[in-house]
């Protein structure tokens, strides 16, 4: 370990956070930046080397997909940052900032994936990571499909891949597989042995398109379903629907628009999360703000983020 007298720390490394005080004297956890949970094998090797040299006997995989180096002496911060290689492996953030986005594997290799969540997570990480909100932390998640393994609606902004199905009756052979596969029961087989679609229960999962043997079902639209205002912790909120079929390449712009509204509306309210700001201001305020920029995607009406009562039964 470094000699105390010679320690000169580059405090800029601490600014964005990612160094978290541990119980032990002088020891910190260093949270690494792993957008979308994607970790190349060479990077993983490098991290293992640095952990072995400066850290404890294990690393911790955080619930938000980061690798945390444990038991790092604060005098080694600079060496750790340098050896990790500033270009390839950065330290994450904490505090009132845009955090590292999480994402599932998405469509690249997961058969359920409808959109490229990994690409979106990298874009958001590159363009918005660490942006100060002025109020509180800000979390973003990308799910590849409505199965929603990343629990997108528990984030300040949660994105969920979606496709809108459309039917070409003439191509249908009446096999019934689509009706069988549609878990929300948005498809029933009609008297003519062709599917009948009901819009309301459809969650845009695309299972009908994937199973249909003849291509009678195909996609009319693809993009993200966006829920806003979620969070977990002591007073959980579940985010509600604000936009549908947002094109994948507009995710960054969308988040920036929400951040702009949040920064302005939460002014003077102290340390307040986005969801509580929406509850205070009313969801129409945010809808109007978004409608001016995303007229085709913003929903006509919505409700405020919903409080989850977690103390029932006490």
């Amino acid at each position: 370990m470094a000699d105390e007298k010679q320690t000169k720390l580059d405090l800029n490394n601490l600014k964005a956070g990612g160094f978290i005080k541990e119980r032990g004297k002088d020891l910190f956890t260093v949270r690494l930046r792993v957008p979308g949970g994607r970790m190349s094998v060479p990077r993983l090797k490098k991290i293992a080397e640095v952990a072995e040299k400066f850290g404890g006997e294990f690393v911790h995989l955080s619930v938000r997909q980061s690798i945390e180096l444990i038991n790092i002496n604060f005098r080694d911060f600079d060496a750790v940052v340098e050896e990790l290689g500033e270009k390839s492996q950065k330290v994450a953030s904490c505090g009132a900032r845009v955090r590292v986005p999480v994402a599932c594997g998405g469509c690249e290799y997961n058969p359920n994936g409808l959109v490229d969540t990994q690409k979106s997570a990298l874009e958001v990480d590159e363009k918005l990571f660490g942006t100060p909100t002025g109020h509180h932390k800000f979390k973003v998640a990308f799910a590849g499909c409505p199965f929603d393994c990343p629990k997108s609606a528990t984030n300040d902004i949660g994105f969920q891949g979606a496709i809108y199905p459309t039917l070409d009756k003439d191509a249908c052979i009446g096999c019934g597989l689509c009706a069988k596969s549609c878990v929300p029961k948005a498809i029933a087989m009609g008297e003519d042995n062709k599917p009948v679609f009901s819009n309301d229960p459809c969650i845009w999962c695309g299972d009908c398109v994937k199973v249909c043997p003849t291509g009678a079902w195909s996609e009319a639209k693809r993009g993200y379903t966006v829920r806003i205002g979620g969070k977990w912790g002591r007073n959980p909120l579940v985010g509600t629907l604000f936009a549908t079929f947002l094109p994948e390449d507009r995710a960054v712009e969308f988040i920036a628009a929400v951040l702009e509204w949040y920064k302005q509306k939460a002014e003077g309210l102290g340390r307040i999360r986005l969801g509580d700001t929406i509850i205070k201001e009313g969801p129409e305020e945010l809808l109007n703000h978004l409608r001016s920029r995303f007229p085709e995607n913003t929903v006509a009406e919505t409700i405020a983020p919903q409080i989850i009562a977690t103390q029932i039964g006490k």
Partner: protein
């Protein structure tokens, strides 16, 4: 008619078994695959479709299982 009975076999073993059985067949052969209701009938047909086979039809039997008819298509 070739039949592949996957009743009582759960996901994803049923799909892997179907793949192995289909490997034994000539290209263009029509086969019937017996599947349980529930997850198997939701998952196996779409995975076989994604592998490139041509699904021809699906019907439920009186006993409650499903018969998926498909044509083997070699990639």
């Amino acid at each position: 008619m070739q039949t592949i009975d996957l009743r009582g076999v759960s996901c994803p073993t049923n799909f892997v078994k179907a793949k192995l059985a289909l490997e034994e067949l000539e290209n263009g052969t029509v086969a019937q695959i017996f599947l349980d209701d529930g997850e198997p009938v939701k998952n196996v047909p779409r995975s076989l479709k994604a592998d490139g086979h041509k699904l021809l039809g699906l019907k439920q039997t009186e006993e409650g299982h499903y018969i998926l008819e498909l044509e083997k298509v070699e990639e």
